[in-house]
């Protein structure tokens, strides 16, 4: 192994969106390591100003094709909080149901299509078809099931249209509710097969304890709603996020970097698992145990396993939600509540598949946005990704350049970064001097 690294990887494939990573190693010492974000999410914040209260959820759903439901609900919740709207239990349960399936859609995409090729030594999902066709076919079936769930409840598989401020413009039929339950039950065989395959994976052993942030709830494994919880021992109402979460624009990046109790924190599936393990379904807990995932877990590579465990939980909980909704049947009179614009500020906090997502809107008396602040999970993770890489690189510095390149890519991909929320064009450069 040379003392200096001279590796250039461009682009870092299989990460949504684009960015720059620079690593500078001299005499086996990491001299420089940073993630550069050449563009800013400020565009969307600026674009929201002056918009009527009916518009932000549709606009922000387009920020990301993968997290469109999460942006839709962070936006709807911010608007409802600002306008003082309370929705009923039926609306809440339907929202949780559709929300679960963006998590299934996204986690499936990441675990099976974007991360699995690394762990099976296939260069891409296309190569994975040759070596592990069953994995690709399971992924497509799970993806289709989750897409169908989102389409039935939300009107469209991508960028759902029937879920709006105040409730739903269209409800699923009774037949569709039972159809969804059948689809969910049919997924278990594939999950069982996936478990057997995932048990054969050998994930890198790399631990770096950090602060884990997620939302939390007394009853649910919080995805749609909850207070913000830190593994460092505090819980706050989402609307008070600025009291704990700090953000700044750093010199080498126009994306915002965030920190809370320490100099870095992690958001996403592993943070949710660490903070809310006891709220997972019993079945999901069993899967976690089978796969060696125990809370608290400090191995970043286990994010992939936490995502799989969440798929199990979402399917289990969806069946429970459908059963609860069908006890009395869906009531069209409770599909939507009336909305009157008024001045006020509202914060919507949800768990996007990649982690905590915050929309903060201030409305004027006519129901038009005066100010908007969006904090996306990928931005929250940036400092932690850099710190992970700085800690991991010295451990593998004696490996070959190819191995180091792959290991670094896998570490970044474990975070499931969705840089397209904030930017485009990803080039990764490992520069030695």
């Amino acid at each position: 192994m040379a003392k200096n690294l001279n590796i250039e990887v461009s682009p870092l494939s299989r990460v949504e969106g684009h960015g720059d990573l620079v690593i500078d190693v001299k005499n086996k010492k990491v001299e420089k390591l940073m993630l550069r974000i050449p563009e800013s999410p400020r565009f969307f914040e600026a674009m929201l100003v002056g918009r009527n209260w009916t518009e932000p959820s549709h606009i922000t759903s387009r920020i990301c094709g993968i997290c469109s439901v999460a942006h839709t609900y962070a936006s709807i919740k911010a608007t409802e909080a600002a306008l003082g709207i309370k929705v009923n239990e039926q609306i809440l349960k339907l929202r949780k149901l559709i929300f679960h399936h963006e998590c299934v859609q996204s986690n499936t995409l990441h675990v099976y299509f974007l991360a699995a090729p690394d762990f099976f030594g296939a260069g891409s999902v296309v190569s994975l078809i040759e070596t592990h066709p069953e994995v690709v076919n399971i992924a497509l079936r799970l993806k289709k099931m989750a897409n169908d769930m989102v389409r039935i409840i939300g009107g469209r598989a991508i960028h759902p249209i029937s879920t709006v401020v105040g409730g739903f413009t269209k409800l699923p039929t009774e037949e569709e509710m039972y159809q969804m339950k059948d689809m969910l039950k049919a997924a278990y065989a594939d999950l069982e097969t996936s478990l057997k395959v995932l048990k054969t994976l050998k994930l890198p052993q790399f631990e770096r304890e950090t602060e884990y942030l997620s939302i939390t709830d007394k009853k649910d494994y919080a995805l749609y709603d909850g207070d913000i919880k830190s593994s460092d021992g505090w819980i706050i109402d989402g609307k008070d996020y600025l009291s704990k979460i700090k953000e700044k624009v750093v010199e080498h990046s126009t994306g915002k970097h965030c920190w809370a109790s320490r100099d870095a924190f992690m958001v996403g599936a592993l943070s949710r698992f660490n903070n809310n393990f006891d709220k997972l379904s019993d079945n999901a807990k069993t899967y976690a145990e089978e796969l060696g995932l125990k809370a608290p877990c400090y191995n970043t590579f286990m994010i992939n396993i936490a995502q799989f465990v969440e798929i199990i939980h979402c399917i289990d909980d969806s069946i429970k939600l459908i059963d609860e909704l069908m006890v009395s049947g869906l009531d069209e009179n409770k599909a939507i509540v009336s909305v009157k614009p008024k001045a006020g500020r509202g914060v919507g906090v949800v768990e996007a598949p990649r982690g905590l997502l915050i929309h903060d809107y201030t409305y004027d008396a006519d129901g038009k946005i005066e100010k908007a602040n969006l904090i996306i999970p990928t931005n929250m993770n940036y400092i932690n990704v850099e710190k992970d890489m700085a800690a991991y690189l010295p451990l593998i510095i004696d490996k070959s350049e190819d191995e180091i390149r792959l290991a670094m890519e896998m570490l970044i991909r474990a975070y499931d970064p969705c840089i397209s929320c904030s930017t485009h064009f990803l080039n990764v450069k490992l520069v030695n001097n």
């Binding site: 969307f44 094709g65 859609q105 999902v125 993806k143 413009t169």
Partner: protein
């Protein structure tokens, strides 16, 4: 607000012979051309004029495109792409002609999880082979913005015309 409990639209999409899928992000300037075309087709009640045609906003999710294509016979995909043509120039080709274009570096500008090239490779490997026609225009600007460049905007009628020609063929 009225509540529609019918699922007729979804049934229609599932049964339609022809699917027209627009791809892209309307907030990334010219990358939004595919979605703008879908909006124009909806405004023109295109599905009413042509029987068995479903109009689909594909957003930016490449992997979801595979799920849609799995259930399709004939598909027209509209996207911003660079097949080596000039800015604003429209190209039309069948997916099975793509190997002929590979030397010309077809590149999608969309912010997809898997780009169009990866999606098509995956489809071939999975033996998902609907009849796919791709209509693409080379964008001038792919950056944050709500508007199409004038050079791209003025080509909307021509793209719509090409779609009609393809369907009545």
């Amino acid at each position: 607000m009225s509540i529609n409990t019918s699922n007729s639209t979804e049934d229609f999409i599932a049964k339609a012979n022809y699917k027209i899928i627009g791809f892209g992000n309307i907030y990334m300037s010219d990358d939004g051309i595919g979605i703008r075309i879908i909006e124009e087709l909806r405004k023109a009640n295109f599905s009413d004029i042509f029987d068995n045609v479903a109009i689909i906003d594909g957003g930016t999710s490449g992997i979801d495109l595979i799920c849609t294509l799995q259930e399709s016979d004939k598909v027209i995909i509209v996207d911003a792409l660079d097949a080596g043509q000039n800015i604003g120039e429209i190209v039309k080709f069948k997916l099975n002609e793509v190997s002929e274009f590979s030397g010309r570096k077809i590149k999608s500008f969309s912010l997809h999880d898997l780009d169009l090239g990866e999606v098509f490779n995956l489809m071939k490997s999975l033996n998902i082979r609907p009849d796919i026609t791709i209509i693409g225009i080379k964008p001038k600007l792919v950056d944050y913005g709500e508007k199409l460049s004038p050079e791209i905007e003025k080509k909307i009628p021509e793209i719509l015309s090409r779609i009609k020609q393809e369907i009545i063929k």
